[in-house]
């Protein structure tokens, strides 16, 4: 069966590759492009480890048909840092010990980024809701929520200066 060409913007870089018919976007990103930051977890939309931003919205890349991403703008955890400068969310996760095994972290970061992009001053309940589709089996969630709130504060302060 012939492969399908697909082109999208991945973390600011125009990217083109050939994908198989039923191939999902997670597989295309990991095996096709080599971006290993979206994680393979449940492969059925339950764990959130594969969360990416597509056109600014969090989606589960394991449930997205790769060929349907034509023309989309995709952000993964690999695109969060600005060169050597970590994104405030990444810094807050490190400083607040919000990652233990780290497997859920890329999905958590992108779910949190989607929240802070539309709500720079979230309440604790807003954060819990934003990451409600992302499972973490290590931290008990509290350090993750604290880190996201801390990053939001840093981002608000930097936007004022």
């Amino acid at each position: 069966m012939p492969k399908t060409p697909v082109s999208f913007n991945l973390n600011g870089v125009e990217t083109s590759l050939f994908v198989d018919g039923g191939q999902n976007l997670l597989d295309a990103l990991r095996r096709g492009v080599g971006d290993l930051t979206p994680k393979f977890g449940c492969n059925q939309g339950t764990c959130g480890a594969c969360t990416v931003l597509i056109n600014g919205r969090p989606l589960l890349s394991c449930l997205v048909l790769a060929s349907s991403a034509e023309g989309d703008s995709i952000v993964t955890a690999a695109g969060l840092a600005d060169g050597p400068n970590l994104h405030p969310l990444q810094r807050a996760f490190m400083d607040g010990f919000a990652a233990q095994c780290g497997y859920c972290t890329p999905g958590m970061l992108l779910a949190a980024k989607a929240l802070l992009d539309r709500n720079p001053n979230p309440a604790r309940e807003d954060v819990a809701e934003a990451i409600s589709g992302n499972l973490c089996r290590c931290t008990g969630y509290a350090p993750i929520i604290e880190a996201i709130l801390a990053a939001a504060e840093v981002m608000r302060r930097s936007s004022r200066t």
Partner: protein
């Protein structure tokens, strides 16, 4: 490997559904099957038809395209009465993908939105131009030969529609059960109530005994006692979320909270 068939219109996609060709909407149900190499899927039919995402509210009637997502519902001011339902389905990423049409075909124990539409007496427009009641579709959804294009129903009056959901995980979680109701109350007495449950059968089901018991009653503890007894008469399945016994015990409790407008 699965072949992807792209169509301009939903009707064209519907016409392709034969011999292991499956329609792919939001992806939350079908892509998981594709990922696990479901032998029943050889081809995926997809469409870019923009009409299936349209949401309209005109003249007291509401029309929702089958491709509208839970996030689209939450973004529509006309559908504020359905926000409590859409908000309790999945996390943000799932809500950006899961469609109204897909929820009608979601296997037990999913289908909270379908239960809400059942309580609203929804009628479905199919891609082949025919119409069907939601209750009739749920009875034969495994053998559907067409696709749902739109869902239509009469807009409920303020406070007439209610929804409650019980799940083991909060804020996101699969339903143990959920209950939706449309409760018209001319003169403070219920007339023509429709009550539906998700999780109390293999598809969302109406609680007809509870509906009948509410007729002419006020929504107060004495008035709803018959309806609560009626809710206990359903036959829910056992699964990993809850046993049939537990669901039967919970159903009247959740219905009481809904009818008396108590917090979950």
């Amino acid at each position: 490997m699965v072949e992807v068939l792209e169509f301009e219109t939903l009707a064209q996609a519907a016409a392709s559904l034969r011999d292991r060709t499956v329609y792919l909407g939001g992806g939350t149900l079908v892509m998981r099957a594709v990922n696990y190499a479901d032998p029943g899927i050889a081809r995926l039919a997809v469409t870019s038809d923009p009409s299936i995402k349209a949401i309209r509210s005109e003249g007291g009637r509401v029309s929702i395209g089958s491709g509208a997502t839970m996030s689209d519902i939450l973004a529509s001011r006309d559908l504020d009465f359905l926000w409590p339902v859409a908000r309790r389905i999945g996390g943000p990423a799932i809500r950006n993908m899961a469609t109204v049409g897909g929820n009608l075909f979601a296997p037990h124990p999913f289908g909270d939105f379908a239960a809400a539409l059942l309580a609203l007496d929804a009628r479905l427009s199919l891609a082949d131009g025919s119409d069907i009641d939601l209750e009739a579709l749920l009875a034969r959804r495994k053998s559907m030969g067409s696709l749902v294009a739109r869902v239509g129903f009469e807009r409920p009056a303020n406070g007439e529609f209610r929804f409650r959901k019980m799940s083991r995980v909060k804020p996101k979680g699969v339903s143990v059960i959920s209950v939706a109701a449309r409760l018209p109350r001319p003169g403070r007495r219920v007339s023509g109530a429709r009550i539906s449950f998700c999780g109390m059968g293999q598809t969302p089901v109406r609680a007809r005994a509870a509906e009948s018991a509410l007729e002419g009653r006020a929504l107060e503890p004495q008035g709803i006692a018959g309806a609560l007894a009626g809710a206990a008469g359903l036959s829910p399945p056992d699964d990993a979320i809850a046993s049939s016994w537990y669901r039967r015990e919970v159903a009247p409790v959740l219905l009481r909270r809904l009818l008396l407008d108590e917090a979950e």
